[in-house]
Subunit: 413 residues, 2 copies
Amino acid sequence: MKIAVLGHGVVGSGVVELINKNSDIISKKAGTKVEIKYILDIRDFDDLPYAKLFTKDFNVILNDPEIEVAVEVIGGLEPSYSFVKSSLLAGKNVVTSNKELVSVKGDELLKIAKEKNKFFLFEASVGGGIPVIRPLNRCLAANRIESITGILNGTTNFILTKMVKEGYSFEQALKTAQQLGYAEANPAADIEGIDSCRKIAILASLSYGSHVAPDKIHTEGITGIKLEDIRFADALGYAVKLLGTAKKNSDGTIFIMVAPFLVEKSLPLAGIEDVYNGILVEGDAVGTSLFYGRGAGKLPTASAVVADVIDCAARFTNHGDFFWDVSSEDLVADYKKMPCRRFVTVEGGAVNESDISALSDMKQYIVNDGKTAFITSVQDEYGFTNRRAEFESKTHLKITSVLRVYNIENGEK
Amino acid sequence: MKIAVLGHGVVGSGVVELINKNSDIISKKAGTKVEIKYILDIRDFDDLPYAKLFTKDFNVILNDPEIEVAVEVIGGLEPSYSFVKSSLLAGKNVVTSNKELVSVKGDELLKIAKEKNKFFLFEASVGGGIPVIRPLNRCLAANRIESITGILNGTTNFILTKMVKEGYSFEQALKTAQQLGYAEANPAADIEGIDSCRKIAILASLSYGSHVAPDKIHTEGITGIKLEDIRFADALGYAVKLLGTAKKNSDGTIFIMVAPFLVEKSLPLAGIEDVYNGILVEGDAVGTSLFYGRGAGKLPTASAVVADVIDCAARFTNHGDFFWDVSSEDLVADYKKMPCRRFVTVEGGAVNESDISALSDMKQYIVNDGKTAFITSVQDEYGFTNRRAEFESKTHLKITSVLRVYNIENGEK
């Protein structure tokens, strides 16, 4: 299956990188080889190994019947809208990461796609790489969606996190975000809530089956948030978060807005910090689900774009994407070779710090009621069993509890 | 599209209830009316309004060419395995919530489904209603999955939460779980980790494309966890969680196990409490994603089953499931009518408690540096604006900050 990538900015170059890097698994899931035939950009990229794929003329792509999917990652309304519309009208599938386009023109473009029996997919338009559009639409398809509430913009969440954690003023936090590349030189779309507004517009349109235009949504940003407010809120037990929220009313209308909200600290949304996004969906059957992850970035966003490309391909092929083979005998490694830290409790008397340090590179230990608890160094189970025997024989004490510590290096970051 | 529901236990009756309750949106998403033609159960249910749908003879279903989807919600290996296999061989799609069946026989059944070009879908087998199978397989299709780690069993998570929060012993916490209906009279499958083992087997098989049988997975339960261990771990900054975890090694093998682990409290998995499940997926492009929600229960599980039924239908119809209409003018309600609590800061001098109580039904307020902050009663914005004016005119003080409080009644629970 041949595709064209429209735009070679951050997301576009990420799409090219990802398709090249993971072409084996992408082809397997798609049931066909996914090949980039053109990249559209007005700029020159002569030094790239794939320089020959570039074109500056959209009509080359539009008029090439081999192109089955146009991937629009230019952003903004024009020329994206014209390119996407004419691609659909020409009978091509379209995948986009463009939240402005989907939120403003989604109803028209979905209608054309339906008439042409083609896909218009936009998983990457909300939540970056976090799966949310497809889960909302497919996995929760049997639910009436009662509400959707999300931290939809990583830049503003980073700023608010810095204010409460580091005591930064809004201006200091914004400057830090800009220095780290999380906020643009002109940060208005983020801090005024415009980006979040487009995203909640898309989520609400999908959930309620009716286009909710961004200009119908009351939108407040975070520029008016004072450090003092955040500190008071913190003392009262709340985090301050910029939320996009939509809720169905019993009369069929919806409440929808973007604004900073206080969120009780015991709620999952309150714990979503830094550049992370989280989207909470409430359905009448499923109850509450939450989707969490990095809401932006080159490869996370490319991950969502390429998933949509694979969907376009999988439609025409056998559904080989849901499959696993018979296992080979040696797939599962000996779990005793898995290195990790361990929590141990020692009984039988006081433990010398030097004896602890034979098992642990961490300085903290806790003594209570004659028992000592601490966290060991990273070891596999064979190594630990040996060291444990040495420790018990040397100290004449007994390790009575052993529990593994989840290895954050290999999981959450 | 006509379907048969095999089994009328908790999940089966939930599937019937949900299809009846939300038949309008289900038909819309499926692109066709989804109709239950048979319910298979050896028991009698003569009092139910849909009693005439019941049959005790599986062959009636198997030999009815009108039945396009068999929904297996009996559980256990037999007769489920025989029913599912013969349904697939007869050219029917199969949807199941049966984690034992999928984890033990998945490779064989997926192979038959592929040969017959039919669906064998099992979203409900992991995480109840939380979308995880489809997101993992479809939305993260462009990723190499580096690791998957989950709190996959609500019963054990409830027990561990009760131990740390209420100081219950393991036995007390288990008894409470049984009284609340979260644990069965024979709780072995939960507390010995068997349920979690089946679920991580399914997630690993799907992620690594190769069947990982449950009996290959080292599995430890939580019966050996002492309250004292949990308290020590808490003091050291860790939560104790029963995790299923799978991680790809550079040599192509995987580490996979089910065991209690300590999890640093700052990590999202540590904050997943009570009967909630959370599944953390790490992909090479997307980074870390987390899926969170209720991992069990009648309607949440039915929600996942019916989503798979809709997928079977949508395959044969236009993809009307991804669609929204042009909006009606009056869809979006006036946001100023949305009731919520508000956080306010008052400046200009001390505030009387009686003046606060005119705005607030909450007792807590904070005074710092001559400013007072508190949370107001629930009101819409028109009501609040009036009361604010009255407050400022009566007290000659000024409300300088106003922020909405996220309404938990309409969101997270």
